[in-house]
Symmetry: D3
Subunit: 314 residues, 6 copies
């Protein structure tokens, strides 16, 4: 385990650089101001209290600043909380930058791009290949940067690309087991299904939903994008409709955000591959934090279950 803010124990002291993710002013019952900070580095995050602040503190210790702190970790209402003893802003000479404090995909950006390009290269249906290539080209930069979700799964730098590449690997094997599957269609669906998140989410550092994301959501955004791209490329034919359907139906059910359920074999498969990779990502990261014989914290996005790590895991 990397040492960092995400690997704290109650009772530990901590000294080092962290990024301020959120900063809120409060007042104690005695009327004294203090700051509640959410601090993070690449290993996780923690809530911290800075007591007895002055006006300058308030204006200096704000969101997205890097700071050097010294504090101790206590328990407050069942959760870890840091009490900050000393604090200072990072200086240029400290040689630290925002990117150092953000979690990244376990696979390099270049490798992710390579795998993506390879999959597109394998596609034989020219209509699908051209649409996919055009969209990937347009969004290449943010695609390699964005997380796959604001929270829950793949919520780290390059998370979306990492999610796509993992899904492509599963798809490749399922196409071998079930040769009836149309590989081009499945690949295209996997690559495009979540690209709408690049418009739905605000970015990488403190990811939130954009207005367009809240009022439309990534699915309708992407259905429109595919239509536009096909129009621009003067591609007509059932491929366009089926690709739009793949994206539209990939959440599986109306209640989950797909007004039309999967009605094409590859759309059904896309839905399941998406589910498996999202759930395994959540699960693996949660289990990584506990020892054999322990249960994870409750995972909200997995029906609030708490998972067990058997003792025979070494």
């Amino acid at each position: 385990m990397k040492r960092g803010i995400g690997n704290h124990q109650i009772g530990d002291s901590f000294e080092g650089f962290v990024l301020i993710k959120e900063s809120t002013k409060g007042t104690t019952t005695n009327g004294k101001p203090f700051l509640t900070l959410v601090l993070r580095d690449a290993t996780g995050e923690i809530e911290a209290k800075l007591w007895d602040i002055n006006h300058e503190d308030e204006s200096v210790f704000v969101q997205e600043q890097i700071i050097n702190i010294n504090g101790e970790i206590n328990q407050f209402r069942g959760k870890a909380q840091m009490r900050i003893n000393t604090i200072r802003l990072a200086q240029p000479t400290d040689g630290v930058q925002v990117a150092d404090f953000i979690e990244k995909a376990p696979v390099e950006r270049e490798e992710l791009m390579e795998k993506l390009t390879e999959a597109i290269f394998e596609m034989k249906n020219p209509a699908m290949q051209r649409i996919v290539r055009a969209i990937i080209k347009k969004y290449q930069e943010p695609l390699l940067l964005y997380p796959a979700a604001a929270k829950n799964h793949h919520e780290y730098v390059s998370g979306l690309a990492h999610h796509i590449v993992s899904m492509l690997k599963i798809a490749r094997e399922l196409c071998e087991l079930y040769p009836e599957v149309n590989k081009d269609l499945l690949y295209a669906g996997i690559i495009l299904h979540d690209i709408g998140k690049l418009k739905e989410l605000s970015g990488v550092v403190s990811t939130s939903y954009t207005l367009q994301g809240k009022l439309l959501g990534h699915i309708p955004i992407m259905v429109e994008e595919i239509g536009n791209t096909a129009k621009d490329l003067q591609i007509e034919g059932e491929e366009v409709l089926i690709l739009q359907h793949m994206v539209l139906s990939h959440h599986g059910k109306a209640e989950w955000g797909s007004p039309t359920p999967p009605l094409v074999r590859e759309a059904e498969l896309l839905h399941f591959i998406d589910l498996i990779d999202a759930k395994m990502n959540m699960l693996n990261r949660a289990l990584d934090k506990v020892k054999p014989g322990e249960f994870t914290e409750r995972l909200f996005a997995m029906d609030n279950r708490s998972f067990y790590k058997p003792t025979f895991e070494d």
Copy 2:
């Protein structure tokens, strides 16, 4: 009540012209071929049996033909069924045409168009007005022809336009009661909300779903259309997004086909106006068929309820 196939009584004889809506060949238990026809005129429809057919009958009495028949109406498994005694194809000299056998909106096409134009004229926001005008212009012809749904409500010629115009009337009054409401936005939402049905449904006579209708549905189709129209007109700004949201959310809930629920005041209102007009259309037509003191048949699209017509209705 108009006399016609929809106003039959068990035991009646019937003689006249009707349209063949469906025609299916069957075989009796003795191995003899017969035709099961669904016949309709502007007042309704009935199932009919033509026994002892020959090969010519099969090829002649097909879908969308007008025929002159003589038969009697019996009860079969609790439903009315006609036994056809004599049958012949309509001749040009009979002076009948398909349009005569299809139900129409109770308001003339011209009047519907006039009301629509008037509403667009009243709009003050130029972005919304231009988008609505462009789409209505593009779809004017089918809009005045299409039903609002394949079944359940406004399922007659000009049904969609009739539905829109009724909703506009409700909207006008609600804008007076609640002056905070943005009338332009509500009008635009009402006019556009179901235009996607012109691509979702196959047409007027034997309305079914198109492939695009089945795989995407009228809501995503229309969200894309609004985006395209705005792009073509080089309109940018929040109006486009909000109009797309109005259409996207008008079914009210994910389970009912809106992946995003209404999050704008006028979207919420649009949803309710749509519901009221659809339900009143179903209800009025079902109650029109029963006498005071009776219950209607069960209305599937209204939670399978059977409604009562009080005896104090004259």
Copy 3:
């Protein structure tokens, strides 16, 4: 915007008269007693802390007293909270009274009564008219005083009458659009549907549920009342049953408190008119508090949605 406790900003000072809605004694972790007060005026309410109290304070600053305070508004756990610096009971010479601190309907009581009377006057069915008139006469006083609900919508003085009169306006227009609707029945249903709340709710100032309200609810209470009134007036006939059905079914579904769903056209319409007016009341008041480009707080009674106010609203 009127200035008042409901229009506070974090960081503001406040000085003026307010009503104590609730008063609870607490003890700090140091064992010192303090009061948590909920304060209100006609614009809204706020939680406030009065630190370091003595025994007299406890017995003086109690529910439904008017006080003059001076304090400042801080943020506590994400919500506004006032810290009271000075406090004194209002004196007769201050010229303030409880009614000044309670929100009122935006329409005057007299006007509401007039509209109600007018609607009853329009009714032609003598049985319905007499029942409605008798009930309104019996409950006239509280009807003009009570809110329409303990919270969520029309929760202000005359709220119930305001709700009824708004619904009557919608009904009038719908009767014009759908001439098949029985106007007398719809009017009677609207006027009576929530009168049971006068027994279900405790009153106007700190509205809670009565024992009868908790164990029976306003719907069965009113069904019985209609039966009793008809008996007293020696009215028989289907009108009584249908009016009872209107009230019984107006929540639309068993899950929502109507053991029988609407089975009469006007009952269905009543349900929708009720929904629209309740929702628009909530929505308009929530949107009134935010600026264009902002979202409202989450509205619990509207599926916990947060609504957006477009920037093109001026």
Copy 4:
């Protein structure tokens, strides 16, 4: 097992008197008229076909006539169906009457009345006792005649009284086990809970729902009746409200027709005693028809389950 129409086997002949429960005219595919009769006696019912009828047959063999028939029992679409060979109306000299063909409770009417009277006699709370006594006196005649439901459970002559008396027996024992229970209240609730069915259901022979039953249902009808009775007897006090609550809440949940769930101990108990007796009645009668080692037919009102009778029974 009693011999009768309810104990038929496929392949049996049948000769004897039966009651016509329903009679519907049909036409064969060859255009020949026939009658579909539902025939019943005290042991059950069967569908029967009378082929090749003439006009007189149609007008003679109608609902609620007793007939003497001779026929054989075949299987048609998986269900038993009788083919009638000879048929004649019963004559006065045959000495048969409608009551002979209707199922009755396994306990005599006099005994049921005696148990009821005994329970009322035991009650000590005068308010409850007087209300219960007045209502039972008013409805004594139909109460001893009516079924407890149109179908599913206790659907036989005196079924309602039988259901009440069984429930009282369970109540007596539970009051012993849980001495905190208010026996008067539980008894009163049991006796009154379903009396509204005497207005909800049309009668004993071909039980259907009355208009009042359909538009209000037995629960609100009975809440009103208790209120009226108390008013007539000039009884005031919490007993009236609690009795109304007992009736109102006895279906347990809003979805099941109780807008208020049980909020008083005895109301909760009433709900469960009602459930147990209804279910055991259904179950015992269904299991009575099968042999050890067999499953019953599917019981719709018990979640469509098919129950097993173990081989180690008798």
Copy 5:
């Protein structure tokens, strides 16, 4: 009412012996350590704060220690909380023991065992009797000690045996009312249905779930145990299967933990008897704490309802 920690009033002082159920260290906003203790005696439990602790306090006042305290009961966030003034560990000379501070069934252990033995003695089917006897013999000790659940109902010493014996009493009476019921089967089902809890729950004092309890649950554990016992006793035949089915189905529905619903008459009855006794136990204990005219606290396991105790209860 017994005097004890469960019968506190806000404002009371308390002096006496209690058991520490939980002990957690916290830190005030000023950085000072304190202990939050959950204290209990046989009448209930309360949260308490011990301020200004030293290192020794931390290591001494831990779970399952008996202490003598003096404190006062305040209100904190709407709940009672004790502020401890003086505290000391109990001494051997105090003559108190853990068992004194734990709630017990209101029936003596010996009497419970006697009733159980009696019921087994009454059984006539040798297969069932031998299986039940073997299992009861094996588990006799914990059975007379364990609660019936970790919380909600019968959560006291001997709770499980008390629950079984109450259910047997209800069963005896229902067998009289419904003579078709197989008494042996019902008795066997009641006695065995929850024995799996002896493996699912950790014990009596601070009851939690075992790993086996979390991963399998008491139902599958007991199905396996019945199978094993029969195998050991060399009993074959349908009795084994039906007993396993009784246990498997006793929660009534898949959603409630029974993958197979009751499909045997006695299984259906077992489910209802279990429900009634569990609910009456919860309800009686909650109502015992309030005065006539009051409502209980919300009961989570009873759909979060708050029950009313009528004023006519003496």
Copy 6:
């Protein structure tokens, strides 16, 4: 496409050998007996009518007989139905046997066994390996014969083994993608998860549910079996519990028959692999029957969806 009864077209004649799956006697409206047969061969099944039968026919043409027929395929109520013209029992000299008329897995029995053995061989955890090996050894014969379900998916000879082997292939790849997964555990779960079906289902030819299957279901049966096997092999330790949990939770949710949801990583994965392979099996077989551009029949076990086969599938 293989020629056979499953590849019929309306209007075709058919001549050949088929197996009688079901045989039911009926009576025409004229009182003449006939047989309704369900006929099958390895390609599918069809309903057929044999008119004008005599007593011998009835006793000869019964379930599981092979017959040679000549007939024609008509449409009856929207489904294909064969009218049999000539019929005779197969003779020994015809050289046909029951196994020829039953669908088989597309992979040979030997190959399935080999893959299974290979997977067991790869397992490194001795406890799991021994348990799996013992169970597979015990059930080897039926395992290679049984279908994986009575209908819906893999409902053919060796269907269960085919399902297991396909799942193992998916598992192998996922273990590569997610190296944290415990391969032994996942393999063991896959191999054991449905073995309980060998006791739940009656066999291969006319598969129905056994009494044990109906009253317990394959999941609890298998949990017990694993416990027994471990006991016999004297294996203790967490592996046994976790394997039981894998089987218990593999349906994913209580509503779907798993009283405990997956709480171990490999259990979650097992659930998804099971879902994918079952759905792909259904889907591939349904799509195999339609041409590009067509929709499949509605698939009940896939939420009643009808899937589309794109036209760009060659």
